[in-house]
């Protein structure tokens, strides 16, 4: 079914199966590869994007169910104009292999938008669905706390 979705402020007319998960629409149909495939079952968070500002697992959202404008890691910020969360990530040199980090960053940005001054427990519980095999967890916590302070919440 032809459908229209807005991704990073840009409108796309698509003719793809209704049940195609947003993850694969982004990666394989539109070439937006910043959003990652990790598990396909909502268990790792690598595919996290925002729909209307809310963090969702793109592998679990069918194209026909996308209910609002989508923001991906590419739309959150850029190498020359990073989002404050990305700035904190770079400052803390968080990434190791980096594969999980787009998802971690999208999750953290949604958390801070809703809870500008999260506690350690709030961070852990908001981020619990985002796996990092390289175990950058302590650095992620430090970067989130730093971003919370610098954006002034």
């Amino acid at each position: 079914m032809p459908s229209t979705i807005v991704i990073n402020g840009e409108t796309h007319q698509l003719d793809l199966p209704d049940d195609m998960p947003l993850l694969w629409v982004l990666r394989d149909a539109l070439g937006k590869t910043g959003t990652k495939y990790g598990c396909g079952i909502g268990s790792c968070g690598a595919c996290t994007v925002h729909i209307e500002g809310q963090a969702v697992r793109a592998c679990q959202v069918a194209l026909a169910d996308v209910w609002g404008p989508v923001t991906t890691i590419e739309g959150l910020g850029t190498p020359t104009a990073p989002h404050p969360v990305q700035t904190a990530w770079i400052k803390h040199q968080v990434a190791q292999c980096g594969y999980c980090q787009p998802g971690q960053i999208m999750q953290a940005a949604a958390l801070l938008a809703e809870t500008p001054r999260p506690s350690r427990e709030q961070i852990n519980s908001a981020m619990q669905g985002n796996l990092c095999r390289c175990a950058t967890y302590p650095k992620i916590r430090a970067a989130i706390l730093d971003a919370a302070n610098s954006t002034g919440g």
């Binding site: 694969w24 149909a29 850029t78 990073p82 040199q93 190791q96 594969y99 519980s125 175990a135 302590p138």
Partner: protein, 746 residues
Amino acid sequence: MAQLGKIARRSFLVGSVAILGGTAFGAWLVARPAENPLRAPAGGAALTPFVLITADGVTLITPRAEMGQGTQTTLAALLAEELDLDWQDIRIDHGPAARAYFNAALLAEALPTRGYNTGDTLHALGEYMGQFGKLLDAQVTGGSTAMKDAFEKYRLAGATAREALKAAAAQRWGLEPAQLRTESGHVIAPDGTRLPYSALAAEAAQQPLHTPALRPASAWRYLGKAMPRLDMVAKCTGTAQYGIDIRPKGLRFAALKTNPNRSPMRSFDASAALAMPGVEHVIDLGQGVAVVASSTWAAMQALDHIHCDWAPAPYPPNSADIMAEIAKAFDLPANSTLRDDGDGAQLPSGATQISAEYQLPYLAHATMEPMNATALYTGQSLTVWAGNQAPMFTKKACAAEAGLPEQAVDIITPYLGGGFGRRGELDFSVFATRLAKALPGTPVQLTWPRAQDMRNDFYRPAAIARMTGAVAGGRAVQLDAQVAAQSTSQQGLKRWLGLTPAGPDKGHVDGLFNAPYAIANHRVRGYLAPLDVPVGFWRSVGASFNAFFQECFIDELAHAAGRDPLEFRIDMMQAEFPQGAQVLQALRQYSNWASPLPPGQARGVAFCYSFGSAVAQVVELRQDQAGIAITRVTIVADLGLVLDPQIARNQLIGGCLQGLSAAMGEEITFAGGAAQQENFDSYILMRHAAAPDVEVHLLENLPRLGGVGEPGLPPAAPALANALFALTGQRLRQLPLSKQVAFAGT
């Protein structure tokens, strides 16, 4: 990355400049220079295989896989330190697969020496290498060896290129090279006239190359400092390209399933799948099938509709039977007795003897980026994009698969979304090549669905240890250690080289035979279980299980001797390995070991010398309502020389937490021949809430540069188990621990 891609990828076979970095390893490499794989365009220069200069600037070749360990950043720092480039101007490229990039330190690691007490193991290298010509293809990222291999080689390559640039400028200006200096990518004359390196490239290429003296550590600007990682901005903005992100024009998407019993496929029925929308081809892989489609998702959906008849497993179908087979290996002749001090079999008179048996499970690598590779076959040439840890072995295997000469095969190595040893394997590149060959002219990306990735891994082997020891007068007087497991080296080298090395398997007993304790009667025997469960190199390899056996049992001996477990270790290490004892002493201080904890809290300690580094950890626990929480970890590591303290710290933390993750929740079990875990809902990795903050202290007392990617892992599991003993009074001798205790945050 793109620049070199255009220039050199297709022309890397031509070149005559002898490798200059090789002098680190003496006469051997001088006698057998590897050709420079880089060919510069007109007006450019490939000054050594590591420095490419063109009209647009300098590209440093950092031919080790970047899988998160920061290796390319520090390799660039080694080159730039001598070449005088400003950090913000540094551009890097992994470069082609080439013998010039072989990893000599990896081979040195294979020598069956204890390491911590060896003179210069590299002396023996030349001889060793002569026996294994094939190992020249070991352009391998693994064994925590990149910096050991590179430390001198890369600085020499940078210095050699700098001197050639100075000689070129001197010729142009009619001056002596000694009158010139270099700074920020320019050669500078005494009167201040400056020429960028790019303007001198063509003339520099004509200069005879010399091997200059290296700068002293006191003059270093980059080495020893925390440099911003060159891949960080890309990895935080979604712009870093991994293998799975390669998107050549006209790309088709594929996914596969192969026999989870690790046997052939007898037959399959793809009629339903072929009728599904988006499905273009179904290809028989012998061990399974691949679907080529308009998207990875369409391919994965179609796989679910292909019925395959799998042949049964070539190993016992269930975990219990597999473990029983491993235990039977204790009845076979030992493969190795790499330590035999005093009389390990005899109980010294008056001593108290204890025995214990430990058992660890198979583990998956579970890299966050599933295995994948992209290939394009034209009939005359093959290009393979694969995040891989062994480009030369990959190239040979793909050339054979495609029926092309190796010169016609181009291996491109993008970022790796985790490796941990898994991406040293060749399966993903070879299968992608097979699909590409079936579809000439069409680039195909083959992705492992997560279940395929997990069920068709080359696992960290399960292992069993039988430990007997004795204490007298507050010291260990006997230690007789036996370990039984499948051999990772035999399987791994067979897949790489087609040969199974005979003789003692050092990796199998690493962390056990070279545990640096002075125990008068000390014997270590390794038994190889003749099983065909696919096993492979997994971060820290044998030390990942042996440190658990060694350090849990040392703790048991300390308890039997009525001693504090940290003091007991220091006492027995002092004479055998003083730097190790210093690590433990520093750990005692930084972890506040001597300060008592309130009830419901406890600490445990463990030590391991592996990959040339000495690492000790204290894990602190607290019994909470929600379960047992790991509240704090303190690490002290002696790395010999710290090239980048921030990268080193992050690697040690990552290794430690990966070790804790495995100890707490990870296990692969088998039923009906197949692994029972298929995804992250059943293969349990550590998540945010369970991850403690980790404090790292670095020492530099060891005489040689040690590794950093792996040595953080081995002490973590035994430190945790020892802390659980201190907390609960219970010795847990099997992993994963979550089967026996409840952890908070899981």
